[in-house]
Symmetry: C2
């Protein structure tokens, strides 16, 4: 039997795509990466994933796991490789409101999880632009972040246990639903963020959180990032750390938004620095909006806030969220955009922006930028549109951004993962011993190197 | 040169103990484990640790890292091995109130970190009985828990980055101070909780938290665990999740406490179930005590609380804390005590206690128990005093506790680590594929098996 025939024997004829049937499976949604997969296989159960991996292992076939395919770094590029789609593993195995946990398979879409938590009077607090497509396996494998990390932590902090299939098909079941479990090495967090290079996550247990009973949501304009950070401290102190999101949209972001999404134009005159803030309470009877109003009035008196609008209905709240959530849509208008996700110590953000403006002019005078940031996390999406398609210039721009972030005590990758696009940064900036340890672990768990080959780990050593 | 001479050349004569000088280094503080180390070496810097490990690696010498030596599971037993004490690496490298982080070396004592945070208007929220002796390297290596996990998470969740020396002496520097950093595999969490079997943590960056401006602290008696869990939900909902500690002390714990520490006798008549609770606020002007009083009044009306006392001074608050903190002191009165740290889903705690009472009578009719629990985490310290020193009976008791916990969806180890004492439970209950993966990683990072040999991983494959 050919490999394709053997795959069909495992998952059924309809769930193996090859030849022209793989059209639509060879492109990243940004449009930048393109590839021709060997085939696409769509298992429906952990056991089928295991049998596919046994076959891949026996035949030395490269396997690229894929969920919603919303990667921004070439993480699912699968040239000549078998794409293993987890989309059919979309069962929610258990929701337990008493323990506030949910067990979901790798193909469950983030929005589905969020809706399910909501139906149970709880919240699954991971939220980012691609939540209508991104799947459990993908957002775990990239340790996704988003707009509520400030309050609830990133994906890693929301996950209690995982089930995964290893390179040779063995199934590891560590689906613990406990808050405390110290039985040996932390293999859960090792696979989370490994971008499918150490194993294929097939299911996970997540913590849910109590659903806030009321939100306070506002958009403010101000003159400087310093003022914005003072405001963050003011609101955190005044609400007991109840800030769920604190997002930065500079002036040119607001202009671009008004141009591409006039329906989402700003309800206030945009300043140099515009901040979207949301605070929440889980205490019945508390009014966070009143509290936020008082805090903003204080910030205005102190000269930190120029103008502000507070949402007075759920509809207004949703509209303010959409202004921020449209970031991906207004950023990825050009496949040549260089998107980054650096993070910096909070007091170095302005220095980073100033230094980059100066450096960028020297590298590519025609380049322009679009910035949006999870300010409370120090996490900036600094996107650059180069003047042309020259790969050397692109590389120089990427290198400058990473170097500048690292030099200021930051990181070149806060939440999007490494994939292919950040391999040069890994080679240049990752601690060399940590890289050696990563390679040792990769060899130990995937000695043939068949799991998502070429990703995360730069060549060499 | 002999090994001892070579060690002296690295750390200086005074910092290598051998022969009779190692007296005092051959016993766990519980008194249960005893050993004769080859020698004790006390490096003062990461570089010295690196050189010691290069030497150990070249000579195939087993190395047991040790901090405050407060392990409860034989984690520092070092029969014929070199004990590597991190106590002289006690420098706080940086405190940064702006970023709310602290960088501390492995030998810094937990209480020192707590005091330092306090001096900076912040809090380092890890707290447990041994905090006056336990050191950074040890509490990271066991992923320690304690009484504030409910609010702030365990050690893993407090740590942002680590520096570690590998088995062959290479130094891995991943001392990131960022909240978000996705640059490759999560090696930090792999070494945290590995009990020194994968590398020696020499320094770490920790998050600090805003210091509460006011606490509300109470001791309550009630009739059942069910009532206690209803009360927890009531206080969490009514304070917006501000419960810092929710600790369970049953009737016989209170009796034992009154007997051994009459100065800490209960200020209220103990019930079957006694709960220590502390809630806090970081919002200036808020009065959490008034809020707690109202919530307790409601719980009394509902029949859930029989009696309660609320601390009205810092002195009273400290005294209530001490009643709980005395647990280790009143538990480890007999080196034969079998201490455990199981965790269970919150709704299975009473079933566990009932089933264990029945099983224990069948195994050892003369055994008696002492229980104390981090109830909010489902984490029970179920200690058994066997009728005699018979090792087979001890093993049967341990096995029954682990089996009962796992059968009810819990774990045999929530926060103390595996060490030596829980190797049979690892062999019996850990997912076999996860065990294989752990062994693969151990071989990859420590091919000679010189780092804390015999711990965490049960023999066999």
């Amino acid at each position: 039997m050919t490999l394709i025939e053997q795959l069909r024997a495992i998952v059924g004829d309809a769930n193996v795509l090859s030849g022209t049937d793989t059209a639509g499976w060879g492109e990243e949604w940004t449009g930048y990466y393109h590839w021709s997969p060997l085939a696409v296989v769509r298992p429906a159960s952990t056991e089928e994933v295991s049998r596919v991996m046994q076959l891949a292992s026996a035949t030395g076939t490269a396997v690229v796991p894929v969920g919603g395919n919303t990667s921004l770094n070439g993480g699912t590029k699968a040239e000549g490789a078998l794409m293993l789609s987890l989309a059919r593993m979309n069962r929610v195995r258990e929701v337990n409101p008493a323990t506030q946990t949910v067990t979901a398979e790798a193909g469950v879409i983030l929005q589905t999880l969020r809706d399910l938590a909501d139906e149970n009077g709880l919240v699954f607090p991971l939220t980012f632009g691609a939540q209508g497509s991104a799947m459990v396996g993908g957002f775990l494998s990239t340790n996704a972040g988003g707009s509520n990390v400030l309050r609830y932590g990133n994906t890693r902090m929301l996950c209690l246990g995982i089930e995964a299939v290893l390179a040779d098909g063995r199934v590891m079941n560590t689906l613990s639903a406990l808050r405390k479990d110290n039985t040996g090495y932390d293999l859960r967090d090792l696979l989370i963020g490994a971008e499918g290079t150490l194993g294929i996550i097939t299911a996970a247990v997540f913590k849910l959180a109590p659903r806030p009973v009321a939100y306070a949501t506002a958009l403010m304009s101000m003159h400087s990032l310093g003022a914005a950070l003072r405001l963050l401290n003011r609101i955190q102190a005044g609400t007991g750390g109840a800030v769920e999101a604190f997002e930065y949209m500079p002036h040119n972001y607001m202009l671009r938004l008004a141009e591409l999404r006039p329906d989402l134009a700003s309800p206030i005159a945009p300043g140099e620095v515009n901040i979207f803030v949301e605070a929440a309470t889980t205490v019945p009877g508390e009014d966070p909006t009143e509290r936020l109003q008082t805090l903003l009035a204080g910030a205005m008196e102190a000269g930190d806030v120029a103008d502000a609008v507070i949402a007075t209905s759920e509809q207004q709240r949703r509209r303010l969220w959409q202004m921020r959530e449209a970031a991906a849509e207004i950023t990825f208008t050009d496949p040549l955009v260089i998107d980054t996700d650096v993070a910096l110590p909070l007091d170095r953000l302005q220095t980073f922006l100033d230094n980059m403006a100066a450096r960028l002019g020297g590298i590519d005078p025609k380049a322009w930028t679009l910035v949006v940031a999870h300010l409370g996390d120090g996490n900036i999406h600094y996107s650059v549109y180069p003047g042309g398609p020259d790969e050397a210039v692109r590389a120089a721009i990427r290198a400058a951004i990473a170097e500048e972030a690292v030099m200021l005590g930051g990181t070149f990758s806060a939440e999007h993962g490494v994939g292919l696009s950040k391999l040069p940064e890994m080679a240049a900036h990752k601690d060399p011993v940590a890289l050696q340890v990563m390679r040792s672990i990769k060899r130990a768990l995937d000695p043939q190197g068949i799991l998502n080959p070429g990703k995360v780990l730069p060549a060499g050593d």
